[in-house]
Amino acid sequence: MARLWWITLLLWRTRLTKVAEPLQQYVNAITPALSCSFSDAPLMAIDLEMTGLDPTSDQVISIGLVPIINGEIPLAKAQHLMIAINGSVGQSATVHGIVDNQLQSALTLAEAMQWFLLQTKGHILVAHHAPLDIQFIQQQLIRCFGHAIPLVFIDTLAIEKKRRLQQQDFLQQGSLRLGASRARYHLPVYSAHNALVDALSCAELLLAQVAAMGDVNKLTVNTLIDVRG
Amino acid sequence: MDVQTLTYLIVGATFALYIGIAIWSRAGSTKEFYVAGGGVHPVMNGMATAADWMSAASFISLAGIVSFVGYDGSVYLMGWTGGYVLLALCMAPYLRKFGKFTVPDFIGDRYYSQTARTVAVICAIFICFTYIAGQMRGVGVVFSRFLEVEVETGVYIGMAVVFFYAVLGGMKGITYTQVAQYCVLIFAFMVPAIFISVMMTGHILPQIGFGAELIDAAGNGTGVYLLDKLDGLSAELGFSQYTEGSKDMIDVFFITGALMFGTAGLPHVIVRFFTVPKVKDARVSAGWALVFIAIMYTTIPALSAFSRVNMIETINGPDSTGVPYETAPSWIKNWEKTGLITWEDKNNDGNIFYTNGEKNEMNIDRDIIVLATPEIASLPAWVIALVAAGGLAAALSTSAGLLLVISTSVSHDLLKKNLMPDISDQKELMYARIAAALGVVMAGYFGINPPGFVAAVVAIAFGLAAASLFPAIIMGIFSKTMNKEGAIAGMVVGLLFTASYIAYFKFINPAANVSENWFFGISPEGIGMMGMFVNFAVAFAVSKVTTKIPDDVVAMVESIRFPKGAGEAHDH
């Protein structure tokens, strides 16, 4: 319970600072989600593909969004967005399979962030190793709007780590990676990797983790969430 | 028509015959046939048994061995015939009374142990497998000559034919197909033998010609008896005398024993005694089978002698100095293509010459003797073609039976009863087919790289049977004290002892395979009998120090031997 208060406090604090109107609305919209049961909560699995791992210098190339509604994933609502970047994709092209000319039809960063805010408004974000993605989002918000906002999210890696540590003392290197975690829940191996597929993978993993926790109907979302100001 | 066309025709015709019979016996609903009071006549069943029994080894290789080795080669004849009698008279009736279809099932029940059954299954698979390897070699030889290809290619073709025949053909196991196969093979064997006999001695029956005097081209007696002539030729060329043995008495004795007791332990022939519903019919057909086997076996020594004389004379010419290669008979060149005859002109005189020792220029594979005989004697082309069909008939009828034993043992006895009891019928069938395929492939490998001649390979199979299954069966029937521990230990030790002795001399260190190195002077072909003694000894020793056998098993053994109102219940 204390956690929920803490999150609410953090969110409420943005009112004190002067935040752009769309951002303030975004923050306000999340509040109802916080007290939902897991199956009622609006969740949105996200995955970002970046040119590198440093939020301050590297750029976001694409964003995958996969919603979780009533404990199910409607693929019809899954979305994938490319973002135009400055310079070349460079090395990371080999990781994501995105080449420069694919990015030509992409949106500008400002357009993309507006789209992102619109799509995820009122949703709790879900990501594997979420802090990294959250930092990137916040960095992009700073670039577009001048400042960041607190984002509420669920980190499937953190959940997995906690669950693993309940079962054993020592975690093997790499055993918390998305693929390794999925394998423990009989989730299929996906050979393709892009922001969309990884967001889907993450969403599926969350469903599996929650199912493994026991009675889904009694689970409330606030036990899973975290916030980052 | 040339030989090759005729061969295709006759082999094709015999196959058409087998397929035709298979279709006929399937379509003409056997149900009505049975109800009409039919059933298989004992004479027919005897022929079918004989076909099962006479493998490519008998057909192709036996005469070759006798022909080259002379008197010593006849141990195979004695061993096999003796084994059959032993099987028919001493074992089959008891096993039948026990109600078991296969030897491993008998052993499993008699020794009240799944382990014993499994060990027996493994022994049976091992034996059948070795036996098939011999058949493959035989089929390979036939195909290589008549399709004029290398022996290896011949074996590959043979593998395919045998596999399709056994697994997909639906022709195997049908009594009338086997009757036809017997007819083909005995006809193919007898025709050249009779031809040569008439040509050389004027007697129609080769068995009589064997002991008769030779005649010249005009048909007049020459006063020289066949065997004397052969002894003379052999002596002249430095071979040991034909009628004189070169092997140790003890080795001959052991080989004969191994063959005899091995025969009695062979899994695929025993089944024949059980497919006949009445015990009496089974006995009668066993008798007939013996007659049909004897027809061929008594001809073998004669045919061997004839072709030996013929061969030496055609190669070395009338003056025994050799004939020029260019003018050499065509059969030599034909067989050279298969790699089974090679000529090396050591003295560079352009003549071919066959003798014992350094001066010999001809390397002749013994396995070709029956197949080449018609050619050597310049018999008509259709006789040559017929022999090919006969060789195939012999190989097919035997290997189909053996492959079935292997594949059903693997799928049913090993997998279903041991490893995967919950397997579905379809899976079981699939594994059986896979096992058959593997059996053919592995047998084919040994057919290409044979550790000996066809008959010798087969002899090894018999040796293994003698050392493993035979004692277990005999003790199962005749001993009321033999327990499972004893039987299992005996089978395992017997099989291992024999197999390793053979493996050492045949595969690991073939160079050492001479009588000086042999254990008591017993060759690998004969070691099976020694293995049998070892088996008996181990079994009795182990059974003395282990638990007593259960009372119900004792009662069971007694009831097999002294049936109470069992056997053929009187009609009333």
Binding site: G71, E72, I73, L75, A76, A78, Q79, H80, Y185, H186, L187, P188, Y190, S191, A192, N194, V197, L200, E204, L207, A208, V210, A211, A212, G214 | S29, T30, K31, Y34, V35, G37, G39, G99, K100, F101, T102, D105, K172, G173, F274, P277, K278, L404, V405, S407, T408, S411, H412, D422, S424, D425, Q426, E428, L429, A432, A566, E568, A569, D571, H572
Partner: protein, 615 residues
């Protein structure tokens, strides 16, 4: 901004039936409309949303479909589907789906499923086949209580007596007298207006002192309670007792199609097996027994119309035969006096196996406790002759092969029966075995169980694991094979130019009986009923579970087809036999029949491998 990169989902669909046959753009369309769910073993069962049925495509994990009684219907693993029964039939979800192993499931909405079925033939076929298979597994033909579940149309009076609305009550009364009925329906312009009963005439006309020219519309019960054509007898009984009425018009829409009375229902109940068996036990002489036995064909007809399982029908009919036999023995013993020794009346063949269909011929024998003296021999001769004659008169004709208790050859003391069986077992001659096989399906109908047990135990002890005998039996059972040719086409028997069709008995049911018998004898299983044998063999792990279930299904299905075909032959006035012409069947049934024959074929290959060591 689309989801065209949902490659993993599309690839998965493209790799599994029936989606693999769909064009890429259709697969992509499917993928976009899928929702993904995760099911954990911890939650036990899949929860279905009743308003919103979906197709469940298993992406990972394993599931088990069970019917409401908990019988396994299907196992579903990666790449397979469940939930289609509801989508296809539109019925409520009744089956439960247990989660065996956690996994991911794709949900395809009903709308897409319907669209795909309409547009893609292969997709549609796949699911109708899967559904058909499922139906068989579910044991569609469940045992049903006759009165409750047979359709009202089977027992109603199809041409109800009617009067027009403008008729007078005296006209109506005349019509009722003429047809000897206690009620008429009042019709106006082909529509049901009301019903007029004896009671109405008494209460509303005579008691009120009305004139006989009063119109029926004044005396009738307006808007009477009706029942509809699809109603079950059970429902109709309920309606009648609720409203305390005895006449119900049967309507189909507005159209009156018949009338049902409580008497009709009573009559239908009379041909119920329990009623019939009770009736048989009450008859005091042979003539009345013969009378009662005339109801047996009606019983069969009712059972077929109630869509009873073929196995149940066989059991029910056999129990009637058993009851008849027992009563005949008792009645004759009342005449002849007590038997001089214990004896057992044995039923063989179909009666033994409890799968009698129409009036079969009799196959029976007598087991005596010991060697009879002259008096005993005469006693049993008289008794058996009388019983066999009685059975013949009741419709169970004399056995053409003379396998009957009245034949001294089959009226033997225990030790001679034992010796006889022993001879068959020790010398399994094909001809002898073919005749003997019916003896191995023996069951005691009358007499002490212990006597029978002694014989059966002895027989089973000698057959169990007797490979040579079993090989003979197996060989015999392989002389016929199911009528499937190359490419699984049906092989039809022809009689000259006349197409006879497929012999469902000799090339279907009998083969399964043979297979079950060989296995049962090999394992020493006492059951003789084929379905029970198969079940016992499955429990003893002698037949693989899957094979056993398939075989039992095939047995039921073929037997059901045979009964249904005979029903068809009766209604079309064709000679009744075992031949089915496949063009009379829907493609779905043809497919199922082919599947069933394939099961028989595989099972034959199985016994060939196991008992004959060949393939």
């Amino acid at each position: 901004m689309d989801a065209s990169e949902l490659q993993p989902v599309e690839q998965f669909l493209a790799a599994h039936s029936p989606f693999d046959s769909l064009p890429a753009e259709v697969i992509s369309h499917c993928a976009k409309n899928i929702t993904v769910g995760y099911y954990s073993k911890a939650s036990g069962f899949v929860e279905f949303n009743k308003e919103n049925p979906k197709l469940y495509i298993v992406r990972s994990g394993a599931f088990e479909v069970r019917d409401p009684e908990g019988v396994l219907v299907d196992r579903v693993a990666e790449g397979e589907c469940f939930g289609f029964s509801t989508l296809l039939s539109g019925e409520k979800v009744v089956n439960k789906v247990a989660i065996l192993e956690d996994g991911l499931v794709y949900h395809l909405p009903q709308a897409i499923f319907v669209q795909l079925r309409a547009e893609q033939r292969s997709f549609d076929q796949f699911f109708t086949r899967a559904f058909a298979k499922r139906l068989r597994n579910e044991g569609r033909f469940k045992a049903k209580d006759l009165t409750t579940t047979s359709r009202i149309t089977a027992i109603m009076c199809a041409n109800p007596i009617i009067v027009q609305a403008h008729a007078s009550v005296i006209d109506a009364a005349k019509i009722m007298r003429e047809h000897r009925v206690s009620s008429v329906l009042v019709i106006d312009n082909h529509k049901l207006k009301g019903i007029l009963t004896d009671r109405d005439l008494r209460n509303r006309v005579i008691a009120e002192g009305l004139d006989t020219t009063t119109l029926v519309t004044q005396a009738m019960t307006v808007n009477p309670i009706t029942t509809h054509a699809n109603a079950l007898v059970f429902e109709t009984m309920l309606t009648m007792s609720e409203h305390n009425i005895h006449h119900l018009p049967v309507v189909d829409g507005c159209q009156v199609i018949g009338m049902i009375t409580s008497t009709d229902i009573l009559r239908a109940q009379r041909s119920q097996p329990l009623f019939l068996i009770g009736e048989i036990g009450r008859q005091a002489n042979i003539d009345s027994l013969i009378q009662v036995s005339k109801q047996i064909p009606l019983l069969l007809q009712n059972l077929i119309s109630a869509d009873a399982r073929a196995e149940e029908i066989g059991r029910v009919l056999t129990s009637v035969t058993d009851a008849l036999t027992r009563r005949l023995i008792e009645l004759n013993q009342q005449i002849l006096g007590q038997a001089p020794m214990a004896f057992c009346w044995l039923a063989f063949g179909s009666q033994g196996r409890q799968d009698q269909v129409a009036c079969s011929d009799q196959d029976n024998g007598l087991l005596l406790a010991h060697e009879p003296d002259e008096f005993a021999a005469a006693y049993f001769d008289t008794l058996t002759k009388a019983v066999c004659k009685g059975l013949d008169q009741c419709g169970y004709v004399y056995c053409p092969g003379d396998i009957m208790a009245q034949n001294p050859k089959w009226r033997l003391p225990l030790n001679q029966w034992k010796a006889l069986f022993k001879r068959w077992v020790v010398t399994p001659e094909p001809k002898a075995l073919m005749h003997a096989s019916i003896f191995f399906d023996m069951r005691p109908v009358f007499g002490p169980m212990s006597l029978f047990n002694e014989l059966q135990d002895d027989v089973l002890a000698s057959t169990k694991d007797n490979d040579i005998f079993l090989a003979g039996m197996a060989g015999n059972s392989l002389t016929e094979s199911p009528p499937l040719g190359f490419f699984r086409k049906f092989v039809l028997e022809r009689d000259g130019s006349e197409v006879k069709g497929m012999d469902l008995k000799h090339k279907g049911s009998a083969l399964i009986n043979d297979i079950a018998r060989v296995y049962a004898l090999s394992a020493g299983i006492k059951e003789v009923n084929t379905a029970k044998r198969i079940r016992a063999l499955m429990d003893a792990n002698i037949i693989n579970r899957k094979d056993a279930l398939n075989l039992a299904d095939a047995h039921e299905f073929i037997a059901h087809m045979r009964l249904a075909n005979q029903g068809y032959q009766v209604t079309h006035n064709l000679p009744v036999n075992n031949f089915l012409k496949p063009h009379h069947l829907s493609s779905l049934l043809r497919h199922q029949l082919r599947d069933a024959f394939k099961v028989v074929h595989d099972a034959q290959a199985g016994i060939k491998l196991k008992f004959l060591r060949s393939f």
